[in-house]
Symmetry: C2
Subunit: 304 residues, 2 copies
């Protein structure tokens, strides 16, 4: 069922943090024609002015005003900033408002929401768009960022089903491919397929940079290096917060990975090339299957 069929509308949309993620949410809903007014809230007046000049938001507003008048509030900020944002919204939060977010971790965001919002946590329907870019700021926002991209909704036990439907409709209006995951499962899965690759790509670049022949290495590096390390360009503030927020799951991932890395080092040291060829063969096959969409089509079961 499309949003046209359901008659889905948002009166006032408030975007807290008008960068790539929040700005693209606003532009997508404007393009879908389902929002009356978009107001922007943030720490930096210059960013809000810039977002308004770009047409990402219609005007800037304070936390108090947004909490008082918005029908939907979308929070897009480094996940370490969420508790302060919830606390700033809580006192004036109108009972009609639903809150969603674009945070890359969910366990710590939900814990912050429970602390800062109290019983009003029922109005918060967490989401994570598995989309993005190494670009940032309102100038990077685009109406099609979420088109056919996966967005995970992590409903809470406290949520009302009509509020969950409202937030789902908003993401569907952005063109998103919706999934539903439990908060804990979300954080484990994302640690594995998003946070660990970023960790490794960044540490790999740091490793290359520490070498005495680093300039020659970087001058010789080609397309494989470029692909492998592309994600290392992401915002350090955002990723520091993600690693801190998802520490337990990350430490489990790192521990398992290090065991495998040590096995592989031993195989190379002892000339066990059969082990290495077998590993390479299995990885190549899985990565090729992933590229062919085998896992997205056949093996995913959305419990929603």
């Amino acid at each position: 069922m499309t949003t046209e069929q359901t008659g889905f509308r948002i009166g006032t949309l408030a975007i807290v943090g008008v960068g790539l993620i929040g700005g693209s949410f606003a532009l997508a809903l404007k393009k879908a024609g389902v929002v009356n007014e978009v107001i922007g809230v943030g720490r930096r007046p210059a960013t809000l002015e810039h977002a308004q000049a770009l047409g990402v938001i219609d005007r800037a507003a304070s936390f108090e005003e947004a909490a008082g008048c918005a029908d939907l509030i979308m929070i897009s900020a480094p996940v370490g900033a969420f508790e302060a944002i919830f606390a700033a919204l809580a006192p004036n939060l109108n009972p009609r408002a639903r809150i969603t977010d674009g945070g890359s971790t969910k366990g710590n965001v939900v814990a912050a929401a429970r602390r800062a919002l109290g019983t009003k946590v029922a109005q918060f329907i967490p989401a994570h768009p598995v989309a993005g870019s190494h670009e940032s700021g309102p100038q990077a926002a685009r109406a099609d960022l979420y088109l056919n991209r996966q967005v995970v909704i992590c409903p809470l036990a406290e949520n009302q089903s009509n509020d969950v439907s409202y937030v789902r409709d908003a993401w569907l209006a952005c063109g998103a491919d919706l999934k539903t995951l439990d908060v804990t499962v979300h954080d484990e899965v994302l640690a594995s397929i998003s946070h660990l690759p970023h960790w490794l790509a960044s540490l790999y670049v740091a490793h290359v940079a520490k070498q005495s022949n680093a300039p020659t290495c970087l001058a010789m590096a080609g397309a494989g290096f470029g692909d492998f390390s592309r994600i290392a360009q992401g915002s350090e503030e955002m990723w520091r917060d993600i690693f801190a927020a998802n520490r337990e799951a990350m430490l489990r991932q790192i521990s398992d990975l290090h065991t495998l890395l040590n096995q592989a080092e031993l195989a190379l040291r002892t000339d066990n090339m059969a082990w290495i060829e077998n590993m390479l063969s299995e990885s190549a096959q899985i990565r090729r299957q992933w590229g062919e969409g085998v896992f997205s089509e056949g093996k995913w079961h959305d419990p929603a």
Copy 2:
């Protein structure tokens, strides 16, 4: 000086291994109009027939014939196969023939050439095109694979300067951006910027695949996962040989990297987020500078 200006010509070009690398070398030289005849040599008759049907080679030939008549012999095979190939060429190798190659490691290839060719090693001018694709076979070959891509020439003490010039002219006719490196330096640099990323990408995919929730993880994985793991699709035979051939440099790289990974794990475990943010910031800056070409333009000094 272009090849037109120098009047550079190849009478008979022999390609040993008519896949992506060897086939693209043949197509590039055909397109440049500098070669009279291209003959193909290889283990699999079906591959040679396919290459001939595609116009990559003009006809198939034996090792004996190629060694006897070729002006330039290009070897493109898994680096573990080079010693047998040199040995098959050695008995009939005509004194006019120059040999070059597309192998990803140079130390073991040069050692194999010295063993199999004896004093005729003077006719071997090693090369490494830092170009490629996860595709393979003659159908993947294209005339522009080397256009503006880096090709490293690793001349040997035994080489005559006119033979080095001849091989350089052939790669220049392919449109390559030529660099010169010592064999040992080549292998250290490539371990760092090509072999280690492949090792990590493959082990990372193996790690994800071992998890109990692997299907959910792979279903949720997005563009960052895709970029980071793209190189893991490479040929397991080729990469097994590369890791075995470059074992010592790889083990040094792995040891240094593991030290850094363990430092990072400790920083996360002890909540030393300043260390992590600093690392992320430095890596992001270096990777962005690399993308802007800072290292290729400013800091590379080709000793040739």
